[in-house]
């Protein structure tokens, strides 16, 4: 709980998304390393295990170095050196090494939690002694491992906890808030009081609560909390009485407890367990730190006192208790294999179908006689829909995950190019399916790089053009209906229509002066425009733009370009929200139903027999708006059995890979969202079919692969 609060209230780190992932992964790596170390059989160390431990340290080091957590990187670096020698069998593992490595893990854990809580760099904990010790181990001097006897350790931890408690930092109160000391008890079951704490997470605006007893009841069965709230006492008592008797609740002013805690004095005696104090401090991170509290005192002691060597040991023991370092790194999210989520989505999909069938059956019943049934079915429908939305939301990830990669890239790129570029991001919290997020990253990187490389001019050129020297690249994401639109904008030089046309004519592309601006800009997606050297002359655009367009098209999306010469340009990428659901048009051919992806449908037109013209005997074309389109009859292509021949039918004009064809079907059934299923999982790829879906009646319908159909019709 404290974790959520600290993130919500803190705002202490700028790239919180970015850091969050690192802390989460580092936490997992640490936990993993600890497990592996504990399982490690020193006498016959398993290569696999040693490698795995090495990899854990290595990934933490990598991440820490990237984010500039120097202390973490330094410590992991020496650990890595030691582990590397172990896995190469240059050294033999000893119990001392394992202990030291475990100890390092604990130190790392709370170095990380300090960073996570936003501790300033100058407060860095000194772990040079530990670093030196690991270094010595790595150089083979076994004597360098002063393993402290483990017996005093638990004792130290016990002492540490109560001392650390009064060292809680003084909370900062917002206007209208007050601080209350809350005592609950005597309770038979101390965890009842935790329900009260949950109230504060469940009810928005109620305030913040923090256990001051580390989750343990005292000898009399009393639990103690500290509450910051603007809610009147009487209301609080009413709420609490849901869980505990009113007589068991005591609300008091905090004066007695808080005042001494704020002074650094009590923290000094806490020196034997400075780590514990620091850990506690990190744990209660949501109470905004005041300058004069325990953390600096603790770290100062740790830095100077020679006694610091055994100090991490108590911290290690303390780490076993729930309310310390381990909690600080504990994340508020869980990592789940994507298959589990997909399985859930499948099951919910089934539920939706079952629900639809029940609803259909229920409609046949007399609503007066079966009123209870009808009500139940209505509830079922609502709950199923909500469940489906909730489950689909699990796969959704904010765009920030992608956007956060760009500030650094753009900065490096600007430095290399000698340009001044800043990045603006809008709508980072717009959510998109995880599968799509992964696939959209590369095309977006391409677009951003292009914008900085070719769009933004050199500073002097910009100034000469009356623009600020600092160019801006804007990334914006927003939901629009069932899709997400991601824009990459720059205020650079924009596209030059005449140059593009000239270049296109040189390359023998079919162009004319009558083309709209949109069509001319679209030329940069032509493969011919894609080599950098040639393009730079024209407009400086188009490095691999054909690849970008193809990638986006393969995700069922589209790209549009808008530009004003000298003002900049805008590339809009429109994507479906998820790959798992697609807008489809269901069409009927004889008895069969097929799904045409709506994104590729241009129009549908009633067909009369005279519209079809043959070319060279077998080829057939149809004239649509002064253009002859190749014709594909779905019933012939898929050899659909027919009882009786039909005349007429409907022609659907579809577009893919820049080509248009006309598909002939019997009827249009409707438009709806379909859940895309993989056909290859249990069967094989079928030409002309990109996947399958399950219709409302439980039947399977195949989804047409429009790109394949276009290729086939055009060759």
């Amino acid at each position: 709980m404290s974790e959520t609060q600290s993130q919500d209230n803190g705002g202490a780190f700028d790239l919180s998304q970015f850091h969050g992932v690192f802390f989460e992964e580092a936490g997992e790596n640490l936990a993993n390393m600890e497990t592996l170390l504990l399982e490690l059989d020193v006498d016959s160390a398993d290569d696999e295990a040693l490698n795995a431990i090495f990899r854990c340290a290595h990934s933490i080091k990598g991440g820490a170095a990237t984010f500039g957590f120097q202390d973490v990187a330094d410590l992991t670096h020496v650990m890595e050196t030691l582990l590397d020698k172990l896995r190469r069998h240059e050294l033999t593992a000893t119990i001392g090494m394992v202990d030291t490595l475990l100890e390092s893990g604990d130190v790392l854990r709370h170095l990380l939690s300090r960073h996570q809580a936003g501790a300033a760099e100058h407060e860095a904990l000194d772990c040079s002694e530990l670093v030196a010790r690991i270094g010595a181990l790595a150089h083979g001097s076994a004597a360098a491992a002063p393993v402290p006897p483990s017996a005093p350790a638990p004792a130290a931890a016990v002492v540490a906890a109560p001392v650390a408690v009064p060292a809680l930092p003084e909370p900062v109160l917002a206007e209208g808030e007050r601080l209350i000391e809350l005592a609950i008890g005597p309770l038979e079951r101390p965890d009842t009081a935790d329900h009260l704490a949950e109230l504060f997470t469940e009810i928005p605006g109620l305030g913040r609560i923090e256990a001051t007893d580390g989750g343990q009841a005292d000898a009399e069965g009393m639990r103690r909390f500290r509450v910051i709230t603007s809610t009147p006492d009487s209301d609080l008592l009413d709420l609490f009485s849901f869980h505990v008797d009113r007589e068991q609740v005591r609300l008091g002013a905090p004066a007695a407890a808080a005042a001494p805690a704020a002074s650094p004095a009590p923290a000094a005696p806490a020196a034997p367990a400075p780590k514990a104090a620091a850990v506690e401090n990190a744990d209660y991170g949501f109470f905004v730190d005041l300058p004069s509290e325990a953390a600096p005192a603790a770290s100062a002691t740790a830095a100077t006192a020679p006694a610091a060597a055994p100090a991490p040991k108590p911290a290690a023991k303390a780490g076993d208790r729930p309310a310390t370092g381990a909690t600080a790194l504990e994340s508020t999210s869980i990592r789940v294999p994507i298959e589990k989520v997909d399985q859930l989505i499948n099951l919910v999909g089934e539920l939706v179908i079952t629900q639809a069938m029940l609803a259909q059956t229920g409609q046949a019943l007399d609503p007066v006689v079966h009123q209870g049934m009808a009500t139940g079915l209505t509830d079922l429908e609502r709950n199923t829909r909500m469940l489906q939305e909730a489950v689909m939301a699990i796969r959704m990830i904010p765009m920030a995950v992608v956007f956060n990669r760009f500030p650094r890239m753009l900065r490096d790129l600007a430095g290399k190019l000698g340009k001044q570029v800043e990045l603006q991001t809008i709508g980072e919290d717009t959510e998109l399916d995880k599968g799509l997020i992964e696939k959209i990253t590369d095309p977006l990187t391409h677009l951003v790089r292009n914008a900085a490389d070719h769009g933004i001019e050199m500073p002097e050129v910009r100034i000469a053009a009356g623009k600020p020297a600092l160019g801006t690249v804007t990334l914006a994401a927003a939901h629009q209906g069932g899709s997400i639109v991601i824009e990459v904008r720059d205020d650079g030089r924009g596209l030059n229509r005449d140059k593009l046309l000239k270049k296109a004519i040189e390359r023998g592309l079919p162009v004319s002066d009558q083309m709209t601006d949109q069509e001319v800009y679209g030329l940069i997606f032509e493969p011919g425009f894609s080599t950098a050297a040639e393009v730079t002359d024209v407009s400086g655009r188009g490095v691999g733009m054909d690849v970008v367009k193809r990638n986006i098209a393969s995700l069922g999306g589209s790209v549009e370009i808008d530009s004003t010469e000298g003002r900049g340009m805008r590339v809009s990428v429109r994507l479906p929200l998820t790959l798992a659901i697609m807008d489809g048009m269901s069409v009927g051919v004889a008895e069969e139903t097929y799904i045409v992806p709506l994104a590729s449908v241009v129009e549908s037109i009633h067909l009369s027999a005279g519209d079809i013209k043959s070319v060279g005997g077998t080829g057939r074309v149809v004239e649509v708006r002064n253009e002859y389109l190749p014709l594909l009859a779905l019933d012939e292509l898929f050899a659909v059995p027919r009882k009786e021949p039909v005349s007429g039918g409907i022609m659907i004009v579809v577009e893919a890979e820049g080509g248009r064809i006309a598909l002939i079907v019997d009827e249009l059934i409707g438009q709806h969202q379909v859940v895309v299923k993989n056909l290859e999982a249990n069967y094989r790829k079928v030409p002309g079919v990109s996947g399958a879906t399950i219709l409302g009646d439980g039947q399977v319908a195949l989804i047409l692969d429009v790109s394949w159909l276009v290729r086939r019709a055009r060759h």
């Binding site: 499948n346 099951l347 999909g349 089934e350 179908i353 069969e592 292509l637 898929f638 050899a639 659909v640 299923k677 993989n678 056909l679 290859e680 999982a681 249990n682 069967y683 094989r684 790829k685 079928v686 030409p687 002309g688 079919v689 399958a692 399950i694 439980g698 039947q699 399977v700 319908a701 195949l702």
Partner: protein, 163 residues
């Protein structure tokens, strides 16, 4: 190690194994019960264009798209009629789920190794490779087929082939 493995194999072979038996026309077949996921009634699958005739199409099995093979057509056992007794055996073959259409499911039988005779070469539509043996039980003869190998054979066209 090797000796231990052999002993282990012998122990497994000596133990009776359970077979699900089903009818195709006049013939009775048996497959390893451990490969069977479930048995369902026949429902009209969605036809797949240009697939071999014995692949009836795909059905929706609780959200999973499963191909359906009509073994009667595969084994050339005359016309395959679909009636109330027609059932689909859903097989779980490692990573894949496949359904097979059979005339009817009889029962589950336990066969000891001594009840299984090698199958003679008779040039049947079922290649001898896929027949593990002929089981005898009273006066019944069971054709025991290696269903997993049969289903992953190239001519079943059920999976993408490397070639």
């Amino acid at each position: 190690m090797a000796a231990h493995d052999r002993a282990h194999d012998a122990a497994t072979a000596a133990r009776p194994r359970e077979y699900l038996t089903f009818r195709l026309g006049e013939e009775e077949y048996g497959i390893d019960i451990l490969k069977v996921q479930e048995i369902r009634g026949y429902e009209q699958p969605t036809r797949i264009a240009n697939a071999p005739a014995f692949i009836k199409g795909v059905v929706n099995l609780r959200g999973v798209i499963v191909p359906i093979v009509d073994l009667r057509l595969k084994f050339n056992l005359g016309s395959a009629e679909y009636n109330d007794f027609t059932v689909v055996i859903i097989l779980n073959l490692g990573a894949r789920v496949v359904g097979i259409v059979v005339d009817s499911v009889s029962d589950v039988m336990e066969l000891a190794p001594e009840q299984i005779r090698p199958a003679p070469e008779v040039g049947a539509a079922v290649e001898a490779d896929f027949i593990t043996g002929l089981g005898t039980l009273n006066d019944r003869m069971l054709i025991l087929i290696e269903i997993e190998r049969l289903m992953s054979a190239a001519d079943m066209a059920l999976a993408e082939q490397a070639a």
